[in-house]
Every structure is written in structure tokens, then in C-alpha cells.
């Protein structure tokens, strides 16, 4: 249980920190400028550091997981996206994996039961829930991040403004409701609930699995509170952000609203936490040798940079030991 409670408490503390820091201590500059800068720097540098840490180890063997027919003889139709042979095919496989979660799409649920006479029955049925909600969550998050660029650019680039309006296409309420606010929440709650309520999932889950969920849920909720309920001086917010991105940071205007500081502090925490957590799957998926290599190791030699000579049992030693047997059996030998 502490695996759920501990991360929850941490997130609650993280929410309390900016409230106290801004309301009580009046540390607007710290929470509005210093922490976001530091967090973003940790994110960028940490991300690069982690990728380079991975890259310092070679890929000694070509070990793609082949999920379809290989390219061999012309009368067999190769599964190009599941068993790529060329770099182009690998790129398509990776794109399908990263953009569409193709492997997750394959997910099957197992159904194990026994007939009255004891005969075991094992059946497998496709289950798309995890795939659908994972996709919903990730794409919503991406769109939310992209449309936040409207607060960090002047003039706002057309495509970003377009995406922003697209997200609010149903024109519900004022300010208009973003669809992604609902979909990301749906995705997050689904991912959280399956961890909490499916026994196997709860069993494998670590605090590090609940923490990002709680954190991102808090970020989404603080953002929604700010936009739809508590209101903040959004011009003041953009002014602050523009100060950050133009490297002319200045203290935020005083009546910007505490909820904004909660939001930006939680986002800072997520950014700073990112490179040291499982969230690095964002970069790692590109470096997974079972997915990003072409299955052509019989066609083209793959080089292992640390391939070293090993002790073998050469033929000479073999013949030395068995020469008499071989001669008697009429097997040719090198030395008579």
C-alpha cells in the first residue's frame, strides 16, 4: 500500500510547496523564474546525458524481434513493417511503433477456464483498452504541450494557433473547453485505475509508476482549474514566460494567482524528474535494439566492437584425440 501512498504524499507536498512559498513567503521570483529555468535545464541536459550514457555501450549483436515473415525467397511475401530488411523499412516500423503503438495494439487477453469434465481451455482475445487509452493519453499530452507554445511565442506561429483552435473546436464555455483536457484526464484515470484495481498490475507497480501518474494528474487539474475555474491573469503569465524564453527574466506580476505557481512548479518537477525515471522511454524506444535494427544479419555482417578471441577446440586437437577411431571408421584424417 505504501507503494501508492508514498508517491501520493510526495505529490501533495509538491503541491503545498508553491502555495506556501508564494502565499506565505512571497517567493515569486524563485517559483516563477529560478525553478522553471533550473528544471528545464535539468530536463535538457539530463535527457542528453541519459541518451549518451546509453550510446556509450555498443549494440554488439543484431537482435531484432521479428514479428513477421523474413525476406528470403521471392515467392514469400515479406512482412516489411514487422520484419524490416532495409533501413527504410526499419524507419516505418519505428514510426508505427512510436506514433501508433503497434506492439501494444497486438495485445491479447488470456482466458483460462476448465470445462466441467476438467478439460482446460485457453483462449486469447484481442484487448485494445490499454492501447487505446495509452494512445489517448500520449497524443493528448503532446497536443497540450504543443498548444502551450502559444504562451511562449510572439507572434504565435500559425500551425500552433490552428492546433489551439482545433482543440477547442466545439466552442463549449468561455474560455472554450479544450478537448485534450478531457481526453488526457480520461487516459490518466484509466491508466491509474488499471494499476490500482487489476491485481496483477497492482502487484508489479512501483512507487515510480504511481508518482508520474499522480504528478501529471495534478498538473492537468491545476491547469484546468486555472483555465476554467479560478482564473489567472493570462497576459501576466505570458509576460512571465516570454521573459523566460527571451532570457530577460523578470519577477511575475503579483496578482497572477497562486494556482499558476502550483501549475508551473509541478511542471518543473516533472521536467526535472524526467531524465532519471522510466519516463525516459520517450528516448529509449528509439534505441531499443529489438526494434530499430534491420533483420538482415545473414545479408550484411554486423560488427561487434568488442568481439574478442576465445578459447576454442580446434580440429587439430580433435583429430589428435580421436585419430585412431577415425581411421578405423574410414573417416579421412589430416595426419596419418
Amino acid at each position: 500500500m505504501s507503494r501508492v501512498i508514498f508517491p501520493l504524499i510526495v505529490v501533495l507536498v509538491l503541491i503545498a510547496i508553491p502555495i506556501l512559498g508564494v502565499k506565505v513567503a512571497g517567493l515569486h521570483l524563485l517559483f516563477g523564474v529560478v525553478i522553471p529555468y533550473v528544471a528545464f535545464a535539468i530536463f535538457i541536459l539530463g535527457f542528453i546525458w541519459r541518451v549518451i550514457y546509453w550510446a556509450q555501450s555498443p549494440v554488439p549483436f543484431r537482435i531484432p524481434t521479428t514479428a513477421g515473415q523474413q525476406r528470403s525467397l521471392p515467392w514469400f511475401k515479406q512482412s516489411r513493417w514487422d520484419n524490416p530488411f532495409t533501413t527504410g523499412e526499419v524507419i516505418v516500423r519505428m514510426a508505427l511503433e512510436v506514433l501508433c503503438f503497434r506492439s501494444l495494439f497486438r495485445n491479447k487477453r488470456i482466458d483460462f477456464r476448465q470445462l466441467p469434465d476438467g478439460t482446460p481451455i485457453l483462449r486469447y482475445s484481442p484487448t485494445k483498452w490499454l492501447w487505446a487509452f495509452a494512445l489517448l493519453f500520449h497524443w493528448s499530452f503532446l497536443i497540450i504541450l504543443i498548444r502551450h507554445i502559444r504562451l511562449a511565442t510572439v507572434p504565435i506561429p500559425g500551425p500552433i494557433e490552428f492546433l489551439d483552435h482545433l482543440d477547442a473546436i466545439f466552442e463549449i464555455g468561455l474560455p472554450q473547453l479544450y478537448l485534450t483536457d478531457l481526453t488526457i484526464l480520461a487516459g490518466l484515470l484509466f491508466l491509474l485505475c488499471r494499476r490500482l484495481f487489476i491485481p496483477q498490475l497492482r502487484y508489479i507497480s512501483l512507487p515510480a509508476d504511481y508518482f508520474p501518474l499522480f504528478l501529471i494528474i495534478s498538473i492537468v487539474c491545476s491547469g484546468m482549474l486555472m483555465r476554467y475555474f479560478l482564473r489567472t491573469d493570462i497576459v501576466g503569465v505570458k509576460e512571465l514566460v516570454m521573459g523566460l524564453v527571451s532570457f530577460h527574466p523578470h519577477a511575475p506580476v503579483k496578482d497572477i494567482g497562486t494556482i499558476f505557481f502550483v501549475h508551473i512548479f509541478l511542471v518543473s518537477c516533472l521536467f526535472a524528474y524526467f531524465p532519471f525515471s522510466k519516463l525516459m522511454h520517450m528516448g529509449g524506444v528509439f534505441l531499443s535494439p529489438t526494434r530499430n535494427l534491420a533483420n538482415n544479419s545473414r545479408y550484411k555482417r554486423h560488427i561487434n566492437p568488442w568481439n574478442y578471441p576465445v578459447k576454442t577446440h580446434p580440429y587439430e586437437e580433435y583429430e589428435e584425440e580421436f585419430r585412431e577411431f577415425m581411421k578405423q571408421a574410414g573417416i579421412p584424417v589430416e595426419k596419418e
Binding site: 537482435i63 524481434t65 555482417r301
Partner: protein, 545 residues
């Protein structure tokens, strides 16, 4: 000897819900039938591997070296340095659980540590607890734990309950491959003298005699000649294969089980008939007399040490290219590792079929092709006189072996050949074949009798799919292009689906191939009549369960 294996009905009491106690709090219990015997000191010594000694996993004291902890951590660091796969797989798992019910051992046992995600977490928790700051300070709250004696025992138990089949990797959104994790975990254990005899024995044999079975050169030759005698009795055709012959065009290598043990020998008779039919200029080798490579289940280094024989022998004999028989993990080694480990094979030529002239371009670097690629090409060019009705006594299904499918993509080749040599072929349900095929439950060196309970549990998903086609279509024969499959599936079938026998694809080819000058064929290569059994399926001997 081995523990008594529970009856199927006892074994089916499977609870997939996890226990109350969290996995980090649970200690391994070494129940007979679920673990393999320790490597015999003479085998370990023969291979110059560390810490040969008498020990047993069910005893309290494993007689580990005093500095076992430093050795394991040092080796772990070294492997992180050598394998990007390991680093990435240690860092990026999000525990989404997509892999959880994909493992045949989890399906068959319900043991949560057989979920691929937890199997990997056994290693990951140590990576975090020993190598990352957060894990060192926060311990369990950061998902980390310290390396203890109990952890070593847990590793042994669960990394020798993984058959490296890669099914989980197909479903993982990041392609995390438990086979890779298991291979490296076994390397860590090997460094402190923890290994199993069912792997050490074949490896030691293979190193010295050239094959797992430990067949000495003359015995190897004798065995094949016995098979030729049987072929003569069945077909009236006299075959005289050659051994270690210099100047042959092709070197043929197959798992030694095909030469030695039922039902592989019938597959081997298929090879012999085919090569005779084609008048192929090929030779066997008694030195490179093993296709399989239990080094793959030991360490990357051991894989290289054993695999070196293939190219070395091809070079010594001066052949043009190498043809490989039906074997699963052998083909993983050949396809994904051999050329990297022991290449480049620039003394060989790109394989060209001497009968059809087809150039096997896709194997132009490794210079070795699979016998079914070779046969498929012959059939495509109509070079074989086949009579599929000679397999009419068989209703056939095909088991996709893990390694050829998920480490190569070998799916249509066997089907092309099977459908050309028999008239009754039925696929098992779609989620149990192709890339989603289920392991036999005994791969990766776990095909030993003392492991029988886990083997029967792990084989349940495969057996259940066979049961489906057995009942629906009367399937009585399953082909498998893997020597381990041929060795273990008969036992599995006897346990779960009596009435289904196992063979390689080339056995069916041997049955169907109309040899010039043969006598009328009324029995198949097993010397069983060529008529379809109409009554109850024959129940086979169950003594080895």
C-alpha cells in the same frame, strides 16, 4: 531421480491472481520438478569455467566464492558497458503489464515472478538498488534492493525458468526482450559458478566431441549408416553419405539429436533421401557435428566458442557454402550471431543451389542457408517428384518454433514445404502461431527430466492449441523445425494431448519423395503403414513423465 510429476488435473489448479505478500518479500522455495540440477564439476572444469564444485540448489549453502557479491556486481557493470540492450531495458520499462500474460510459464504456473516484467524486475531492482543514487538512498521506494544471497537464489530459479522464447518481446511497446535479459543474467550467475548440468553437459560434450550427445566420430558415422540401412529396408535405396570429405561443395550441419534420437532420426532420414535424390555434392562432418549451440544458453562467449567449429570446418574442408538442418536455437545463433562472432566467412561463396541455380542473396554474408529454404526453392522450380498421398495417414499441424520465427521470421518456408508434401494440413488458432507462437516449454536448456513439472506447465498453452486442432480436425502429427521441440514435444503431447506425434518437416518430405528405383512404399520412415488410422488414436508410452 526426478520428482513425481503431478497429474494434469492437479497441475491445472492454476491461480493467476498474485499472492498477498509483495514479490520483494517472498523467498524462493525450491520445490522438486521446478528447478534443474547444478552443473557437474567435471563438465564445468572441462570448459575452464569458474568455481567447479559439487553443490545443489535445494541446499542452504551453495558454496559460492567469498567475493561472490563483488564478482556479480563487477560483471553486471561490465555487461552494462558491453550491451546497450541491457542498459536500455533496465531503464525504460514502464511496467504497463502488456507482457504479463504472454509468458507460457506464467500461464501454466500463475507464479507472478514468471510474468516477464517481474522476471526482468528481479534484475532491475538490483540495478537500481546498487547502481543508481535514488535506489541507493530510497531503497524500495525507488524500486531498488540490495544484492543478497536470497536474490542470487531467486535469479537462479527464475532465469532458469525462462526459455528465451521472446514472445513477450513481440508485445512489449519498447521491444524489451526478456531473452536478452535472461542471457545476461545467466552470465552473471555463471561467473560465480552457478549453472545447470543439462546445459553444462551438452556444452562440454559439444566442445570436446563436436556434438551435444557426445558421439565420437565413429559413432556419429555409424549412427548415420544405421539410418541408411533403415532407409534401404523401407525404400530399397542404398545411400552412402560421406564424412569429413574435402572438396565437397556443401557442408551439411544439423543438430546431433537428428542423428541419434527419436523422432529426430526420421527427419534425418528425410535429409539423407533428399540429398541422395539430388545427388548433392555434400559432406557431413564429425567435428562440426552439432547444429545446436547450448552456448547460447550459457554465455555469449560460450556461444562463440562452440559456434567457431562451423566456419573452421567449412574452411578446412574447402566447401563452398553451408547447409543447415532443422533446429530452432541453432538458427538463432546462425542468423543473428554467427557472422558477427566468427565471421567474416570470406573463404566461402554465396550459396547457390546446384540444382536450380538460385542464388540465396539474403544469406550472402553468412553463407549458410536453411534446409527448408533450399527445399522450398526446389519445390518452386518443380525439381522434386513428390507424392503427398504418402502422408495421407497423417493429419498435420505445424508448431512454429520460437527462435526461427521471432529471431529470423521463418514462417512461410516450412508451410510451403509441408503443404507440398502432405494433403491434410491444419493451422492451430491464430494467436498461437506465427510470431505469437508458444514455446514448447522446455527450450533454452531446460529440457531435462528433473524440470518436468515446469515443462508441463510451460507447455500447456502450446498443448492446448494442439488439443483444439486434434479434436476439431483429428490432427495426429505436429511438425516442428527444432530439435528441442522434437525431443520434448512427444512427452508434452503424451501428458496433455495423447495421440499426436511429432516430427520434423523433412520426415514428411522423406515420406513423399518418390525416389528413382525405389521399391513400392507401403510403410513410412517410421515403418508404420501408410493408411490413416480410423479407430481411437493410439496412446503412446507415458513412462518418461
Amino acid at each position: 531421480m526426478a520428482a513425481k510429476t503431478p497429474k494434469p488435473q492437479e497441475l491445472l489448479q492454476i491461480d493467476h491472481r498474485p499472492p498477498r505478500e509483495w514479490w520483494m518479500d517472498r523467498k524462493v522455495v525450491f520445490k522438486p520438478g521446478t528447478w534443474c540440477y547444478a552443473g557437474r564439476p567435471e563438465n564445468v572444469k572441462a570448459l575452464d569455467l569458474p568455481f567447479p564444485r559439487e553443490w545443489s540448489p535445494d541446499e542452504e549453502d551453495w558454496k559460492l566464492p567469498d567475493n561472490w557479491k563483488e564478482i556479480v556486481l563487477e560483471t553486471f557493470r561490465d555487461r552494462l558497458h558491453k550491451f546497450r540492450s541491457l542498459k536500455v531495458f533496465m531503464d525504460i520499462c514502464v511496467r504497463c503489464g502488456a507482457c504479463a500474460d504472454k509468458c507460457h510459464y506464467f500461464i501454466g504456473s500463475g507464479d507472478p515472478k514468471n510474468m516477464p516484467v517481474l522476471r526482468a524486475e528481479l534484475l532491475r531492482s538490483i540495478y537500481r538498488g546498487e547502481f543508481t543514487k535514488a535506489g541507493q538512498i530510497l531503497g524500495r521506494l525507488a524500486g531498488g534492493r540490495k544484492l543478497t544471497y536470497d536474490v542470487i537464489k531467486e535469479w537462479f530459479y527464475y532465469f532458469f525458468q525462462c526459455t528465451e522464447c521472446r514472445r513477450c518481446s513481440v508485445f512489449c511497446p519498447y521491444g524489451i526482450d526478456t531473452a536478452e535479459i535472461t542471457m545476461i543474467a545467466r552470465e552473471l550467475l555463471l561467473e560465480i559458478g552457478i549453472n545447470i548440468n543439462w546445459i553444462m553437459g551438452p556444452v562440454a560434450n559439444s566442445f570436446r566431441t563436436g556434438n551435444h550427445m557426445g558421439l565420437l566420430p565413429h559413432t556419429f558415422k555409424d549412427n548415420i549408416e544405421f539410418l541408411c540401412e533403415d532407409i534401404y529396408d523401407i525404400t530399397g535405396i542404398k545411400i552412402e553419405p560421406t564424412f569429413n570429405r574435402k572438396g565437397a561443395e556443401i557442408l551439411f550441419i544439423t543438430p546431433s539429436a537428428d542423428v541419434f534420437a527419436e523422432p529426430g532420426i526420421y527427419t534425418c532420414m528425410g535429409y539423407l533421401l533428399l540429398f541422395h535424390y539430388l545427388d548433392l555434392d555434400y559432406t557431413w562432418s564429425t567435428y562440426a557435428s552439432e547444429g545446436g549451440n547450448f552456448g547460447l544458453f550459457t554465455s555469449h562467449e560460450m556461444m562463440k566458442r562452440l559456434n567457431a567449429k562451423m566456419y573452421a570446418e567449412a574452411k578446412r574442408l574447402g566447401v563452398k557454402w553451408i547447409l543447415g538442418g532443422e533446429c530452432g536455437h541453432m538458427w538463432r545463433v546462425i542468423h543473428q550471431y554467427m557472422n558477427t562472432l566468427n565471421g567474416p566467412a570470406d573463404f566461402l561463396e554465396v550459396p547457390v543451389s546446384p540444382i536450380t541455380g538460385t542464388r540465396f542473396e539474403h544469406a550472402k554474408a553468412t553463407k549458410m542457408i536453411h534446409i527448408l529454404e533450399f527445399i522450398s526453392d526446389l519445390i518452386y522450380h518443380d525439381k522434386l517428384n513428390l507424392d503427398p498421398s504418402r502422408n495421407d495417414h497423417l493429419v498435420v499441424t505445424h508448431h512454429d518454433s520460437c527462435n526461427p520465427v521471432r529471431a529470423m521470421g521463418f514462417i512461410q518456408e516450412p508451410r510451403h514445404v509441408i503443404k507440398s508434401v502432405c494433403n491434410n494440413f491444419y493451422e492451430m488458432p491464430e494467436n498461437t502461431i506465427y510470431a505469437e507462437t508458444f514455446c514448447c516449454g522446455s527450450g533454452a536448456g531446460l529440457n531435462t527430466d528433473e524440470f518436468m513439472e515446469m515443462r508441463m506447465r510451460g507447455g500447456l498453452p502450446r498443448a492446448n492449441a494442439v488439443d483444439y486442432v486434434h479434436k476439431k480436425y483429428g490432427v495426429n502429427r505436429m511438425t516442428a523445425i527444432c530439435a528441442i521441440d522434437r525431443a520434448v514435444l512427444p512427452t508434452l503431447m503424451n501428458y496433455w494431448v495423447p495421440g499426436v506425434s511429432i516430427s520434423g518437416v523433412c520426415e514428411l518430405v522423406g515420406n513423399a519423395l518418390v525416389m528413382p528405383g525405389e521399391k513400392p512404399r507401403d510403410i513410412d520412415l517410421r515403418q508404420e503403414p501408410l493408411v490413416r488410422p480410423t479407430a481411437e488414436m493410439p496412446s503412446e508410452d507415458e513412462s518418461d513423465v
